[in-house]
Symmetry: C2
Subunit: 129 residues, 2 copies
Amino acid sequence: MIELDERARKLIGEPNLAHLATLMADGSPHVTPVWVDLEGDKVLVNTASGRVKDRNMRRDPRVALSLVSVSDPYERVSIRGRVVDIRNGEEADRHIDELAKKYMGVDVYPNRRPDEQRLIVEIEPESIY
Amino acid sequence: MIELDERARKLIGEPNLAHLATLMADGSPHVTPVWVDLEGDKVLVNTASGRVKDRNMRRDPRVALSLVSVSDPYERVSIRGRVVDIRNGEEADRHIDELAKKYMGVDVYPNRRPDEQRLIVEIEPESIY
């Protein structure tokens, strides 16, 4: 685990989409946009149980993230790291609402499906460029 | 190889950044922002020789791309595919200028380094969601 520099913290703190790469069962890459925030030096992603990226990260914890600032396309950061925990329950439900506040300016995540279980994915950064 | 649908063609046709995932030597993912355009149903990326993603794609051709519309964050596409060719020379130099036109509105790519060799990376899509 490494410490995130100020530039990475700033890009993650602002409502910039991140693109999360995970590994399919055959080892090939998969990449989709995600909302992110920070918990200390860990990057938190929120997803729903059973999605491709959830299954991928449980099989192989190695991931990568790429963020570009919406206000300045030259401000960008790429992080490689490892999933160290996946948490569910009320905490994950609160977290998706916090991300909806950050990214959409609303108090409650509006796209929640009644049958889905939200997950907080905790990522430890191992390299940044 | 599959055909790209209209939604994917539209997102790639507009000046939306793509995030390209490649595989490091140890099989872990790496993801960075890239400019893209289309050649028929193939996605073209332009990079410089010797970069991490260039070395990664020569070692393992499996890649993935994620695009989100700058104008509508709900418009998004994820593509998994395979690098089928990497071309250099004048054609690749012209291509980076074309991409600079698309993404920056300028005729000549302004960040060119005298010592770098530009490359066109040709990607055949294998799945889209």
